[in-house]
Symmetry: C2
């Protein structure tokens, strides 16, 4: 007999696994229950409905990343080093949970209007605050060119995420099912090289 | 009485408009027919099913961009200028049709396996060929650092597209419904500045 927490975790694992396999967030509650090996009524019991399950999955997946981000913001490091470490973290999360940014967008979009702000403040604000801080500190230190931090946030997430968001392209065009471990590291390196050189002030040393 | 072509175009316009308004590709055929003011049977008549309609929408939306890309490739311009013009074009398409990259992914993912390669070759290969060529020419000219062109393709599309893919974030976090015309231009400028400086060879003149 399983504990309550275990069944809940199994359902979240099953949901995440199916989203990765099918490259879609459109997974039925029944499919999730079957994959988790539990009764479909359990999904309703734990999460209420599909929206509740997606929100719980986001909460589980974002927790570690957000804690890491708060620690990074508090560290005594130059802004370019903070940005670099943050981007590496974002890409590692994307490789592990390729649905994560699509999930953020879907959860936010599908929230009732009166809960949307709360969800945004919990799961997105820490990220956008980080970009505001790092862009300001970087420019003040003469390390970064002046940039709009809102736009920098979207640019950073996009350059990190698209290789997983559009991974369906890999087999047909590039003849590979997925990036190998080496290719993932190479993607991280190339993204860091482009993005950090891209935000660097023209006269800052590299 | 309308011509056949007109009804077909109206249905595609309605589908695109609803995807923009709802920030989703999950639009029912009935909703599309209602919006277009035509009988729902017309959707089946012209497109067969939802997948057929999405493919037709992609075909319509991608046509201009792909023709532009072929012209750009044939022009006698330095690789950095070609890359710049291409990125501007990608961003303008994203602002006009914010669902476009999600549509590419969904159409490719939902194709039957025996048609997937053809769709990829038609709608994605011209883009990835462009990146292969421009990365090679740019490195040969000493303008770009050596980069993996497959990764460059994903990075470029991601940095251009994410501000429309994740636009649901704009109202809750940034207090704006959408980017203004000026902000769109600023986004284009900032993306060009970051991406072009990012791929530039360290010793190339800017």
């Amino acid at each position: 007999m399983q504990s309550r927490g275990m069944t809940r975790e199994q359902l979240l694992d099953a949901a995440g696994d199916l989203m990765i396999e099918r490259d879609s967030l459109e997974i039925s509650l029944m499919d999730i229950a079957v994959r988790a090996g539990v009764n479909a009524a359990m999904v309703k019991y734990y999460f209420g409905n599909k929206e509740g399950l997606l929100l719980a999955l986001l909460e589980r997946d974002a927790r570690g990343t957000l804690n890491q981000l708060l620690r990074l913001m508090a560290m005594d490091l130059p802004p370019d080093e903070k940005l670099k470490r943050h981007l590496v973290g974002v890409m590692r999360v994307c490789f592990q949970r390729p649905y994560i940014n699509r999930l953020v967008v879907a959860v936010l979009r599908d929230q009732p209007a009166n809960r949307r702000q709360q969800v945004a403040d919990l799961y997105i604000r820490p990220m956008t605050d980080f970009y505001a801080r790092v862009a300001e500190d970087g420019a003040a230190a003469g390390l970064f060119r002046p940039v709009d931090p809102m736009m920098l946030y979207f640019q950073a997430v996009g350059i990190c995420d698209n290789i997983v968001a559009a991974r369906v392209i890999l087999p047909t065009i590039f003849g590979i099912d997925a990036l190998s471990a080496d290719q993932r590291e190479q993607y991280i390196e190339q993204t860091l090289a482009i993005f950090l050189a891209g935000v660097r002030a023209p006269d800052a040393r590299s």
